[in-house]
Symmetry: C2
Subunit: 132 residues, 2 copies
DNA sequence: GACAAATGATACTATTGTAGTATCATTATA
DNA sequence: TATAATGATACTACAATAGTATCATTTGTC
């Protein structure tokens, strides 16, 4: 079971790199050279981050990607939300229908509690806090 | 992201059913009729649980499955371990090699903490505690 | 002993989610 | 206008999950 998939992880590294960079705007070329990630995959990820408002992009020569906001305001939960969908540890499988048990199910209560807890912790993790 | 996959979930329900049943030994027929799960899939799961020492099986007419131990001694983490492998939320993707950063990586520390916490909570959940 | 009712073992298929590629269009700078 | 960048989109590859199908073996009952 993975809490963080590869695209989230790559996104994280790329954003951290950009945040640490002297230059505001960083090209995919530079990112690929430094982070050793597959270029087309990384491009897809960065384009997505641009669409989602985490990064902003500049086209044309000398173009690249920059933070749209600051490292303090980007959270791990944002990235997980984008690339992995809402965190849902919890889902009743009972015949794939809405479960008649839902309200009294013990398991659901337990898992929901864990989920809330995990989310609370992840929500505190900003890019800034990962930069050392 | 799923904390509990379908085979773990089915295993859980089946074990609970057997634990609640008046009869010690319950046949797949009865389980399928009551729990409405796909029969061959459930069989595969039960056979696995037998091999893993959670259930014991009785072959031949009037055969079926019974708990190998008591409901107090079977934990959610056992089932997750069997069907989903060791819980590892955490794994550095850096070029798939062992990461040189491992010791100082902030992200790793955070995720490891969360993992330990989740595991601690799941470890407390016995089948008994799910029976109402 | 024959038959029926059960599980054991094993190999196969289907679906989904993740990971990654390929290509062409568009934009900005020099 | 050539070039260096991103935008958009469609496609392929791989792995994990979910499920099926079949035949062999064991056991109780008539
Ligand atoms: S059995 Fe449906 S939510 Fe638990
Ligand atoms: S970067 Fe390798 S463990 Fe975090």
């Amino acid at each position: 079971m993975k809490l963080i998939t590869r695209n989230t992880d790559y996104a994280l590294r790329a954003i951290c790199y950009i945040a640490k960079s002297k230059k505001k705007v960083v090209s995919v070329n530079e990112l690929v050279a430094s982070l050793k990630m597959p270029r087309p995959f990384l491009r897809k990820i960065l384009q997505r981050l641009n669409r989602e408002g985490i990064l902003r992009s500049l086209k044309g020569a000398n173009g690249g990607f920059a933070l749209h906001t600051t490292a303090e305001k980007i959270f791990l939960t944002d990235l997980i939300g984008i690339f992995q969908g809402a965190l849902k540890l919890n889902e009743c499988f009972f015949k794939r229908k809405i479960c008649p048990n839902k309200s009294k199910c013990n398991l659901k209560k337990i898992i929901s509690g864990i989920e809330a807890d995990v989310f609370k912790k992840l929500k505190k993790v900003s890019i800034r806090s990962l930069l050392d």
